[in-house]
């Protein structure tokens, strides 16, 4: 059962990373224009990222 002492914190850490990643996607504006992002991958010229200009 001592394996729990390693696995439990490890799983919490991984889950926490997931949560941080979620906050990051939100802040980075990845949900601002889902339709546009889906279409933009078809464009050849890779222009401005989602956060500029605001």
């Amino acid at each position: 059962m001592t394996i729990l002492l390693i696995l439990a914190p490890l799983s919490m850490l991984l889950a926490g990373l997931g949560l941080v990643a979620f906050f990051w996607t939100f802040k980075a504006g990845q949900y601002d224009d889902p339709m546009g992002d889906a279409e933009r991958i078809l464009l050849d010229h890779l222009d401005a990222g989602p956060d500029d200009p605001v």
């Binding site: 906050f23 279409e39 464009l43």
Partner: protein, 721 residues
């Protein structure tokens, strides 16, 4: 919008570094090609540093370098590319950012994370129930770990409910969020206490999944309202609330409507609406009052004529002096009527709130009875409190919280695909109750555009070259009746007609007086005269929408009474009523008259659906039990209406009513299911039979059942429009 050449500097915003930027709503962009075309062309304009189009919201952000910005050039460029565009005023641009939606989405994300990871630690506990291999110490450890995830997440994500509960208690009322908040906090408290003393019953996972499931319902509800409201606002923006104010030097400057003051000189180009109540100073033109009074026949105006806001200038540029600010214009009187209507509507009690009003006292007294009962039976405070908390958890309205939003988002999604925007869930509920439909005539039952009904086609073909040279709706419609062909050089006499040469002879097309006929007729007509011949007459009529008759028949087949209330003349309304197969109609009604007619219907206990588009309908739309407006309606009507249909088809109205009725049935089924579930779960919890495992299964099971029932609505013949 014809603001392309105008000065739009009033709409510019300053970025933090001082560079000017402008937000525009662009209509019609659909794909990667549009993004590329728009961004590359706009960014190529002189001075523009960056342009980015948000395809989801249709919003184009343009950023200029330091110095002068030329917003007019951007609109002009977009129009030349074939996209309609309207500027966001700085304050609507702010309002368009959906702060509530972001907060809900983040809370939902956190709650989802908490649910999954708290379960990760409680599943071993449940497994241990059967395998008997889990010692007390390990179980307690699992509970602590579960608490470490669930408690902060619950407290963070649950704020949505806590805030609303506190706000409602301050007003001396208890809404659905009060039992939710008490249930969640009590569950957390009891679970901590139980874990601290090494007991077997902790409900951390139940607390967080309760919050998660309820947040799903809230989020769906919010999305529904936000989507429809944005769409309605965008429609209204396309009839941009700007006016062309004339400076002392005679230069035109686009000015937000709210900044127009009485005494300002304004210019109204042909094709534009009169922005505020104003008196004509220069120019002679015809104006279309269809949206203001419902009259189909254009009226001619000259210097000195007073025009209410909302009238459409047809022929020639008018210079006018504003007589009222926007908020004091005729529109504002209608606005007050709308407010009164909205207030009476806010008294409508939504189904979910009706259910909550029954539910909250029941649940609270059941929980209190459980606690007191077990105390009396000598079970001790701890065990009694645990069972009371179990009652609150299993009866906490997960299914109830999802019952209504899940159904409404599904129904509205289906309507949205058919081109119908539903502004709120309450509108859908009211639509299901409709047993009487009132139509406006102009622009609703009819297309709002005239068609030739009587006249010699050979003569029409002769007159067509003249007609093609004119912008007047009657001339256009005559030209349309004949088909394509050449135009002649013609002189337009504003408010009278056009004059030119046909077969080498002088010819005139226009009003009766223009060709020398005395005594103006009330009919919508056009006279054509060639030098040396007797004038001939063409008569026109507003055409019925092609599916008007079928729609009325469909509504009547549903057991709904149909009536026409119009501001137009008796003859025109009678013809339209006959054409559409409507027996009851009234003509010549003022906006107040329409409201009074609707009030009378309401007093008779009828639930009325009003379908209208004009300024004169706006108050009636707001006073009706529920209201529908076509996408072409005046912006004030779009705001007042509960539902907006975007296409040309009236047939979506009976469809929407049928779907609303179906949705109401699903909601009722969901309520019945929730009641049944509580009938079993509540007594079980009161007798202490609900363990954490049972609570988790019961809660998610009931939510799933309710959601699946709602999704049944998505099936059927709801094809994309």
């Amino acid at each position: 919008m014809t603001a392309a050449t105008a000065d739009l500097s009033a709409f510019l915003r300053k970025a933090p570094d001082g560079r000017p930027s402008l937000d525009l709503l662009v209509k019609g962009a659909r794909c990667a090609g549009c993004i590329s075309k728009i961004e590359r062309n706009v960014a190529g304009l002189p001075g523009v540093e960056a342009a980015r189009l948000n395809l989801t919201s249709g919003r184009l952000n343009v950023l200029w370098g330091l110095g002068t910005a030329a917003p007019g050039a951007v609109v002009e460029k977009l129009e030349s590319l074939g996209y309609e565009a309207a500027p966001f005023s700085p304050d609507t641009a702010q309002a368009a950012q959906d702060a509530d939606g972001r907060r809900l989405a983040i809370a939902l994300g956190v709650a989802g994370f908490g649910t999954g990871n708290a379960m990760m630690f409680t599943v071993p506990v449940w497994a241990g129930l059967f395998g008997q291999e889990l010692g007390d110490g390990t179980r307690t450890l699992m509970y602590w770990l579960s608490a470490a995830v669930a408690a902060p997440c619950t407290l963070f994500a649950g704020q949505v409910f806590f805030r609303s509960a506190v706000a409602s208690l301050r007003r001396g009322r208890a809404n659905m969020d009060v039992p939710i908040s008490i249930g969640v906090l009590l569950t957390l408290g009891v679970s901590f206490y139980e874990t601290a003393r090494g007991g077997p019953h902790a409900y951390f996972d139940a607390a967080i999944s309760l919050v998660f499931l309820l947040l799903i319902g809230r989020y769906l509800d919010h999305r529904l309202r936000a989507k429809a409201q944005t769409a309605a606002r965008d429609l209204a923006m396309m009839q941009a609330p700007i006016a062309m104010r004339l400076g002392a030097d005679g230069a035109e400057a686009a000015t937000p409507l709210v900044e127009i003051r009485p005494g300002d000189r304004i210019a109204v180009a042909p094709g534009q609406r009169i922005p505020v109540d104003a008196r004509v100073e220069e120019g002679v033109s015809d104006v279309d009052m269809a949206l203001v009074t419902g009259e189909t026949l254009p009226q001619s105006v000259a210097a000195g004529a007073f025009l209410p806001a909302g009238a459409l200038n047809l022929d020639a540029r008018l210079v006018m002096r504003a007589e009222a600010a926007a908020e004091d214009s005729t529109v504002a009187e209608i606005g007050r009527l709308i407010e009164a209507g909205a207030q009476s509507k806010s008294r409508y009690v939504r189904l979910a709130d009706k259910a909550a009003a029954l539910y909250i006292p029941l649940v609270h007294s059941a929980a209190a009875m459980t606690f007191i009962g077990w105390m009396v039976m000598g079970l001790g405070v701890r065990e009694a409190l645990l069972r009371a908390a179990a009652v609150l958890i299993v009866t906490c309205p997960c299914a109830l919280g999802l019952a209504v939003p899940a159904v409404q988002i599904t129904a509205c999604g289906r309507l949205f695909r058919r081109g119908v925007l539903v502004k709120s869930g309450a509108a859908l509920e009211r639509l299901a109750e409709v047993d009487h439909v009132v139509f406006d005539k102009t622009g609703v039952l009819t297309e709002g555009a005239v068609r030739m009904i009587d006249g010699d086609l050979a003569q029409a073909a002769r007159a067509a070259p003249l007609a093609r040279a004119s912008r007047h709706p009657l001339s256009r419609s005559l030209a349309q009746a004949v088909g394509l062909g050449p135009a002649v050089a013609a002189r337009e006499v504003a408010g009278q007609g056009v004059e030119g040469e046909i077969d080498g002879r002088k010819a005139r097309l226009g009003r009766a007086a223009f060709v020398g006929i005395e005594g103006a007729a009330a009919e919508t007509e056009l006279w054509f005269a060639v030098e040396g011949e007797a004038p001939v007459r063409f008569r026109f009529e507003d055409t019925l929408r092609p599916d008007a008759r079928a729609t009325i028949a469909a509504l009547e087949a549903m057991g709904i009474e149909v009536e026409i209330l119009s501001g137009d003349t008796t003859g025109a309304v009678a013809r339209a009523a006959e054409g559409a197969g409507v027996a009851h109609w009234r003509a010549g009604l003022t906006p107040q008259g329409k409201v009074a007619a609707l009030k009378a219907l309401a007093d008779r206990g009828r639930c009325t659906l009003m379908v209208g588009d004009g300024l004169n309908d706006a108050a009636a739309l707001s006073a009706a039990h529920v209201s529908f407006a076509p996408g072409s309606a005046s912006d004030i009507s779009l705001n007042a209406a509960d539902l907006v249909f975007l296409g040309e088809q009236l047939a979506v109205i009976p469809e929407a009513i049928a779907l609303a009725r179906k949705a109401r049935r699903r909601v009722q089924e969901n309520f019945a299911f929730s009641a049944l579930y509580n009938l079993v779960a509540a007594p079980a919890a009161m007798f202490g039979l609900v363990t954490p495992l049972v609570a988790a299964i019961a809660m998610s099971g009931s939510s799933l059942a309710v959601t699946l029932n709602a999704l049944r609505l998505a099936r059927g013949k709801g094809r994309p429009a």
